[in-house]
Amino acid sequence: MHEYAVTQSLLKLVLDEAKRVEASKVLEIRLVIGDLSTIVDDSVQMYFDIMSEGTIAHGAKLVFRRVKAEFKCRECGEVFIKPTTGFDCPKCGGLGMPTGVGREFYIESLEIE
């Protein structure tokens, strides 16, 4: 829902990194985004295309690596992908808890020239 603000932050970070390594062009931006982050990929790309106009990052392709939300059962320790309706363990029915996997929200790398 807040893709505008996220894209602003993303663009600034990309341009700072590109400047640091004296890049002349940013070709690709590889992002790792957990499913719990509530970000819509297409929307970020759309904002990015508009906001990056006139910068060396204009035209860069955003590549999203999505990470599924993992929960861990409090009873049997099973690690499972969060079911769509609750937090119960598919193996024993115990109550799951978040493991942190699925909250990723970072830039992994840039392809530059």
Partner: protein, 220 residues
């Protein structure tokens, strides 16, 4: 050529949030980020708490809204320092807004600073403000499924307030399911049931707020 970055996308916000956190810590300010749906009773809870604190705490308030100053005017009538932030369509407050607001409020040491976020259970959870306490308010008419749908919000909360309990007899609210959802995500979260209408639970919430120790660690 590929270069490794490995930096959080919210880097700029997080850095400013850290500055806010240090500022609050240095002045012994308890900053409370209040997040909830529109209409769940954020402003009412703040007003009830101010009343319940009496002279036990000095309170200042940051009111975040897309537009209007309706809420800030209510707080102003109580005589507490208040500042309105209009985000002009933005769905959340960010650390920079809080930095500016905190400076202009000229907060006294030891103040409890309530930060009423924009009514929204999604976006505010992604923006660390530098607060010491995250309070999530859910209200009975919204239904018991909120923790299951807005997991990040409930996962990060230090305290979950269940408001409008006076409406419980009229609404199919499955309290066990609500508690189970919150505890699954966050077994350390304190849950307090209140009714801003009848005043039930407010003194318990006020006492919790006055006594809670602030961790001053980022949790987004």
């Amino acid at each position: 050529m590929e270069i490794k970055v490995m930096k959080n996308i919210m880097h700029a916000n997080d850095r400013l949030a850290e500055e806010n956190r240090n500022y609050f810590k240095g002045k012994g300010i308890k900053a409370v980020n209040i997040m909830a749906s529109p209409g769940s009773g954020k402003t009412s809870t703040i007003m009830k708490l101010i009343e319940a604190f009496g002279d036990r705490a000095s309170v200042a308030v940051v009111e975040g809204d897309i537009a209007s100053s309706i809420d800030a005017e209510k707080i102003d009538k109580l005589g507490n320092p208040v500042i309105q932030i209009n985000t002009g369509g933005g769905c959340h407050l960010d650390a920079n807004m809080i930095k500016t607001a905190a400076e202009s409020l000229q907060l006294k040491d030891g103040t409890i600073l309530f930060i009423e976020n924009v009514g929204n259970l999604v976006c505010p959870s992604s923006f660390d403000l530098g607060e010491g306490i995250k309070m999530v308010i859910a209200s009975v008419p919204e239904g018991h499924d909120k923790p299951y749908k807005y997991t990040s919000m409930f996962e990060l909360a230090d305290i979950v307030v269940l408001n409008k309990t006076d409406l419980m007899p009229y609404i199919d609210f499955d309290k066990d399911s609500f508690y189970k959802g919150v505890k699954a995500l966050n077994e350390n979260a304190k849950i307090i049931e209140v009714s801003c209408k009848t005043g039930e639970g407010i003194s318990e919430l006020a006492d919790w707020m006055l006594n809670v120790q602030v961790s001053h660690n980022p949790s987004v």
